[in-house]
Assembly symmetry: C2
Homo-oligomer: 761 residues x 2
């Protein structure tokens, strides 16, 4: 395609550029004027050539050689090691230290005390061929950080995944958890919600286990034969209530510097009130086998070779947890490469470096990619290249416990970040297979353009084409979900791969959802089970045996995030394209309207069935299930303000995207002063989607489009103020947040209009 | 409701009488004139009072005290025992004996010979508290009757449920069964298709096991604690290819009398060509654990505590089966109670008496209900009652092996049955909970009217109301299937509970699908697992512990089938109502049209994805899956002949149902001669739905509306000539059977018109 034709197509297609353009990265790059394209492409080629898989291997092997959780000697050592490397590569680097509440276990005991006795092993034995699995120095026993201390004995109740609907099912079977200890399986909702909801339902303790159905032998051969969890493998993890806020529980909203004002532990709402302990399925089996009472509903049954019962009891367990609640340092390694033309516009990139034990896959497989990018960029800089904008690369500490390092840094530098940050680009470990990309939808177009230029090592097509093929196949599979069919349908209509919306579970959260900075998150992966996750077996030996033996996908991730960073750093205009955002939020509004309609219809029928005693009649005497309780009826809600706002937004987005293309087609008119003005407006655009009041009940979360779910945790809720209120039948709140969200869309639209005006000057 | 109002409503509602009428059995009974209602209701009350649960218990305990499979001494003894009872109750009874090929195992061996050695136990140990489980005399080892003899050694391949789609999935993973031995799990398709399809794909042997997910510990506590299958419990069963024809394999289409002309064994198409053996999950586990190769797809994974792999091998098994292929007698006990006014109109009722071992639930729990009906009717007859029509009650032998007793009897008396049989009413064991009723849809109205008059002992509502509540609740459940939603929607529109269409698996098949006699099948059940099914543990002790301790549902089934029989026997007009038939087949046509449309759409996309290499791109290197193969494209088919035929049929049905109601409102005009004429036409109506040529590839099956699926076995295919041709992409055949089926509908419609004319005279 000639450059001329390409430029014409940009104008014609304006609001929704066809993939045909993006695929042909040889002739245009979004955000760059035609004259700047060749230089950028040459730079990216040089960048690619500077990447070496063997670097990734060596760094991972070294950094995963000892336990590296917060507070461990090797955690500090890794930070110092990176600091030295970053400086040696020409970056202006420093360690920024924060001081956080970080409990570690002193004593942990779990035993079945009736009807028989079993003392849980609670430790992960060495595995043949996994060299670090025999290390014990500095290895903490498996635990859930920010659970309460306690010494409790109670009857056991099995609560499935421990999500809100599970408690409704328990109630229909006459089972209460009050005064009892729950046993809950990992999965299908964030781990921290499990003990929180158990506590809210009256439980006095919580045991979380990894069912073999979800990531054990049923999912794949147990390690070392395959990717399945071995019988004594345990998933550690944080249970801090990060649906309220992330970071140090004692310093919400402000940086946990040495002399910050702190809450008391009792005041910190994100610390749990009951003891909670993660265990293996080897330890869970004797407990589950000792339960009687109603049979678990069919979807609750995992793959232990027992009949799943709900209890309560006769299984009775004794759980004791005592922790060291001392403060510990987190070491964020922050490096800068100064921008030549727009030093006050910052493109930020991060991955954390702390693991639960050795942390080879999580987080180091992503952290070594970040390092590889830095080394390559350093070598380009040594050859005379300077980014237009300032690059900031961060290796965070304390992510596992609750995004501690990133949150405290973001809170400390909040004002500057809001003024200067173009975007935050996150990774958090890496696998192999398919591109998984999520983030702010105004960046979707840029991301897919990058992806079309990155080659997949297994198939030699570009990584977007591969992920697209997967989604098309999934949408045509027997029994495909409506959502899979929808995505495939959009792809067939010529749409590009959609960015996933971001919930939480990694370091983008403080940037995106607290500060309103456009954010992205990347990784490669497939549907292989993650039986190593947060266990002793997340090791270098495991990584090169099971996941990415030659670090081919490490290099591919570096291509992806590296090109994204280079374009964020070098493009004349910040590469936002608003059409995808408008399309996406329009779909979210439709979804919520449909949700309300189907809830209304189903609720009416449920009420009718309750009144007709149909549930009692439908219940089998072998397996009695009572009726659900009446719930608040679903009124017709006024979604018009949202729909009007989105309709206006779509018009403005189209106009702005056209103006953007036109402005870039006349680069001579883009003086430094105009570029600064336009880019400042672009940088501030995502922040228009914030509400200062925050989301209902959680003021720290201010983004009105993306949030982790109140009752899903990591998983995203889009338009959360409205969607969650509808889901939870808070209809007055739903109406209120229709207004709040519509106002944010109006503000965003107004900002887009300002950008368009500035572009047209 | 007054009689006058009721009669008016019958006229107004004509084609689709509202449940309001049916529920009020005090004022009208379908098929009876108003003046005859009180007598019939009084009779039914007397019948109900004559039933005694303790009779059922005693008969079951006696008949299940020893193994009672065909050829066993106790099988003959049970026949003689019933003969004596039936005669003592005033019935004209005899034993009609047929002589069938009935192989029994002489030697059975299964061993894992590589990579380790394991010899399968192949026997079911005694269970505490189950008295007959320690009996060994006359107990045959678990086997699949009509599998081939053989001595084979081969690598093992796991093929999931062994259905056609499973072989497509195997092919996509590069796994062939040719020359190997398959291991397949029970469920999701009739057992006989599993070895048949394995053979057609080149396997040399077949092992069928009961996965604990399907009816073992995952489904319920293993017996004796609950209804789950214990680890060494085995499901026996026939693998005769009854999708071609039922009955003695050597005498298709004719009765297996002593001197019938017989095929040779080699000529009998319903005998399998490879050895097949059923085993327990206790025996399956070492075999499954020894498989490697590709991981089984997620839906294929059961609940054994192993990672499910496909093989082939390294697990290698040696299977030897040698049988006694001698002829054995089957003893049908046939009893008659002569009709007083229409002795040549026969209402027939049957249940079989042979079991696989003790057969308490299957079949005796149904057989004792049949006996209870006979005893009660006998006592009514002793008090002077005579049925208008002749009642024929049959206790069949040899059902388990392939509906031997019923098929041979039906084939022997085919001509008479076609002339005289009003309907055949079947049961085949009984459980508890919910009414399950299937059969000819012209009988739906009568059945539901009966059901509205039978009280459920657990809930005290009528049994239709209870089943209706279950269907309404299922249709409103989270994630309800489209089919469940459809049924609930119809119920909410005022429709009555639909009769299920009949496939096969019990003795109605020769009557309905070979001879075109209207048929019904009844039982009560719930979703409790059937871990006892076809095992040693289907015992009296099991039945009263797990299923129906006080025989309350035995009595309720007797109410249901007894009232059906009394109404079939006593109604002035045979109680057919054609509106429901028309509605039902209209839906079947719609379903098939939608099926073709969705197949077409999905096939086009599949082809496109194959051509784009999307499947290769979508495949994970951890778990490679190749593309499917191109299949014949789906043309637009001409369903117009069927739709026109159904539209005409619906009109005629409405008119006929109205004429029927009107004729009964003027009973004085219904002279014996007119009744005989009309009833003869009604009796012959279902036969209009037969095609003499039969279904494609299986001439024995002549019914064009109901058949067991070629590739589902027991499960029904409605409008099978068309539906199966579409499903199997035999589009010329589909078009041909659109014509054949439409012609049958035309013939049926013409018969309805003749009935209407006769009713109006």
């Amino acid at each position: 395609m000639t450059r001329h034709l390409c430029r014409a197509l940009v104008c014609v297609l304006g609001a929704a550029p066809a993939t045909i353009l993006a695929a042909d990265t040889g002739t245009s790059i979004y955000g760059f004027s035609a004259g700047a394209v060749a230089t950028e492409l040459a730079l990216e080629r040089s960048f690619d050539q500077a990447l070496q898989a063997e670097d990734l291997r060596a760094w991972m092997q070294r950094m995963a050689s000892q336990p590296n959780q917060v507070g461990s000697p090797h955690d500090h050592d890794n930070a110092e090691y990176m600091l030295g490397l970053f400086r040696s590569w020409g970056w202006n680097a420093e360690i920024e230290t924060f001081y956080v509440l970080y409990p570690t276990p002193k004593e942990v005991l779990l035993e079945l005390v009736a009807p028989t006795h079993y003392r849980a092993k609670l430790r992960e034995p060495p595995v043949a061929g996994d060299r670090t699995s025999s290390i014990t120095k500095d290895v903490l026993p498996p635990y859930n950080i920010y659970g309460a201390d306690g010494d409790v004995t109670g009857k056991l109740v099995y609560v499935n995944y421990g999500m809100p609907d599970d408690y409704k099912e328990l109630a229909r079977r006459g089972v209460s958890v009050t005064g009892n200890i729950v046993i809950v399986r990992y999965g299908n909702g964030w781990r921290g919600l499990k003990p929180k909801l158990a506590y809210e339902h009256g439980a006095i303790g919580c045991i979380i286990y990894s069912d073999p159905r979800d990531d054990g032998y049923a999912a794949g051969d147990p390690y070392p034969d395959g990717a399945g969890r071995p019988s004594q493998g345990v998933q550690r993890g944080s249970v801090e209530d990060m649906t309220l806020y992330s970071g140090d529980p004692l310093t919400p909203g402000v940086g946990a510097t040495r002399d910050a004002t702190r809450l008391s532990r009792a005041e910190a709402k994100t610390i749990l009130k009951i003891p909670v302990l993660p265990i293996s399925y080897g330890d869970a089996q004797p407990l589950m086998r000792a339960l009687t009472g109603p049979r678990a509903p069919a979807p609750w049954r995992g793959s232990l070779p027992v009949t799943y019962h709900l209890g309560p009891g006769p299984a009775t367990v004794h759980l004791r947890i005592e922790s060291d609640w001392s403060q510990k340092p987190v070491y964020d390694v922050i490096a800068r490469l100064q921008g030549s033309e727009a030093p006050d516009e910052w493109a930020i990139r991060g991955n954390h470096h702390d693991g639960w034990v050795f942390g080879a896959a999580d987080p180091l497989s992503g952290n070594v990619v970040l390092m590889a990018e830095m080394k390559a960029m350093g070598s380009l800089a040594a050859q005379g290249w300077h980014p237009r904008r300032t690059l900031i690369y961060a290796s965070w500490d304390g992510e596992e416990a609750g995004l501690l390092g990133s949150t405290e840094w973001a809170e400390t530098h909040a004002d500057q970040l809001k003024r200067h940050a173009v975007a935050y680009v996150n990774t958090d470990g890496n696998g192999r297979g398919f591109l998984e990309a999520g983030g702010s939808h105004a960046l979707e177009h840029m991301v897919m353009e990058v992806g079309h230029g990155v080659s997949d090592p297994e198939t030699r097509v570009d990584v977007v084409a591969r992920a697209r093929a997967r989604d098309l196949v999934a949408g045509n599979a027997e029994g495909a979900t409506d959502s899979a069919k929808y995505i495939a349908g959009q792809l067939r209509k010529g749409g590009d791969l959609p960015l996933r919306a971001l919930g939480s579970g990694s370091d983008y959260t403080p940037f995106l959802q607290h500060l309103g900075i456009s954010a992205l998150n990347f990784g490669y992966g497939d549907s292989e089970p993650s039986g190593f996750y947060h266990s002793l077996y997340d090791s270098y030996d495991h990584y090169v045996r099971i996941i990415d033996p030659d670090f081919a996908y490490g290099v591919v991730l570096a291509h992806t995030t590296g090109h994204v960073m280079l374009r964020l750093a070098n493009s004349e205009l910040v590469p936002l394209h608003f059409g995808e955002f408008a399309t996406t939020v329009s779909r979210y509004v439709e979804e919520i309207e449909k949700l309300a309609d189907s809830m209304r219809e189903r609720s009416l029928e449920t009420d009718r069935l309750i009144n007709e005693h149909a549930y009692e009649l439908a219940s089998s005497r072998h397996d009695p299930v009572g009726p659900p309780t009446h719930e608040a009826p679903v009124p017709y809600l006024n979604f018009a303000p949202l729909k009007n706002a989105v309709a206006e937004l779509a018009k403005s987005a189209r106009a702005c995207d056209e103006a953007y293309a036109k402005a870039l087609s006349e680069p001579d008119r883009l003086t430094p002063a105009r570029l600064a003005e336009i880019n400042a407006l672009l940088i501030a655009s995502e922040q228009q989607l914030l509400a200062a009041r925050g989301l209902p009940g959680r003021p720290w979360y201010q983004h009105l489009v993306y949030a982790p779910g109140r009752h899903t945790g990591y998983a995203v809720k889009t338009l959360p103020g409205v969607r969650e209120a509808v889901e939870e039948r808070q209809f007055a709140e739903a109406t209120e947040y229709v207004g709040v969200t519509a106002a944010a869309f109006d503000a965003y639209r107004a900002q887009i209009d300002r950008i368009a005006t500035a572009l047209r000057q």
